[in-house]
Symmetry: C2
Subunit: 220 residues, 2 copies
DNA sequence: ATATATTTTTAGGTTAGTCTAAATTTTTTA
DNA sequence: TAAAAAATTTAGACTAACCTAAAAATATAT
């Protein structure tokens, strides 16, 4: 029993929207994320429920079953491994790899994934700082904090992003904010909550609240 | 205007069956190669003709147009590059890569192909000895000969295979017949046309006519 | 050269995944 | 808590790619 490209996408998106606590995902949220209409989502939900991949009661929203979760995590594993390949081996920028990985993640073949993983040296994180599930499906979300939660005066390490939009990533590139960079929060502007920061001890830089909200960091 | 997975497969198969001289390909041959029924092929041929990818007149068989040929060659380029990747980088055997490459070849993205090509060092041949078209679509079929055309006493270089079946390739592995091996034809058995050969100067080996017919070689 | 066999096409249906419009259920608000 | 709003589902259709069965065209053979 093989899952289609489309089914895999639904499961992946349900996983993402459902979060660590397994919150119910609404039909409309799925319609939004899949760029389809709510009616189409309902059809697919019925099918996924019949296959035992989601818990679904009409009008109640959905969550993944254990077996649905497994499929979703495999897709995520593949997506993130391919992203590492594209950036580390082929030289793509971190802003360029999402769409291609979106296709590669649906290539079936367990052995392909495992050989790719070995070839890449069993990476733990993808180019955006997202953790890569291991072959058994163990996915430990590291407890990063968002830059907005960092106090003035603190120095933290840049570990990942919440927004994966190419335009956001390119903006970070232009600001010199890359994974592993040291970010020192110097001041928070009361009016618009923008921040003055120093990246790797360089000159002072202003970043908007919108940017801060999408930066994942770690205390050292 | 993007071509679907299925359309690309049809074009690739028409290219293969059509050969260098652009011979007309029959509906039944396509049904056989695509594992579908003749009626389904007719449907698809009508569609491909409408898109200007094939020359099609009812009951007359089909050939590729220039634009169809271009698409087919791009697919073949991708297929063969991915096969090189799978064997050279991931460590797959040459008997294991066909089905996976069959999926990877349909991943769209010109830049992906070009970066992959560069990463692999612009290889000229895939793991089965098939030539890889360049980025412009130039595909020069090398003029190899089949082992059956080699005279007794000759020493030739093993350059490729006509049959790509895993069982055939595994048989060659077990016989030590790999790309680049020196094959010396010692004797042809009159009765069944089987051959006594020496591989890289090793012990004498018997290979059947069936095997000889599928080995591509080159005089040195 | 006509009858037979083969190949190909047409006609009409199926499934997956999508759609719009209408009906129904749930939620919000006054 | 009843009316209005929002969310969701149902009903009915569409397209791509496939199918079977029957009809039509081409090829083969006596």
């Amino acid at each position: 029993m093989q899952n289609s490209f489309t089914e895999e996408n639904y499961l992946k998106i349900i996983h993402a929207l459902s979060g660590r606590d397994g919150i119910e995902v609404s039909t409309n949220a799925l319609a939004e994320s899949t760029s389809t209409r709510a009616a189409s989502v309902t059809d697919m939900l019925r099918k996924l429920a019949e296959k035992g991949l989601i818990h679904y009661k009409k009008y109640q929203g959905v969550t993944l079953t254990d077996s649905g979760e497994k499929v979703a995590i495999k897709v995520i594993r593949k997506h993130r491994l391919w992203e590492v390949f594209l950036v580390e081996k082929l030289g793509f920028g971190w802003d360029e790899v999402h769409d291609i990985a979106e296709e590669l993640e649906h290539i079936p073949s367990e052995v392909l994934v495992e050989k790719l993983d070995a070839f890449l040296g069993h990476p733990k994180f993808d180019p955006h700082g997202d953790p890569i599930p291991d072959a058994k499906g163990n996915l430990t979300e590291p407890d990063y904090l968002v830059l907005t939660d960092v106090q003035v005066g603190e120095k933290v390490l840049m570990m990942g992003v919440l927004d994966h939009a190419p335009s956001f990533l390119q903006h970070l590139d232009r600001s010199g904010i890359t994974l592993g960079a040291v970010i020192e929060v110097q001041e928070i502007n009361e009016y618009d909550k923008s921040a003055s920061v120093r990246i790797n001890g360089g000159p002072t830089l202003f970043i908007s609240l919108e940017v801060s909200k999408n930066l994942l960091v770690q205390r050292r």
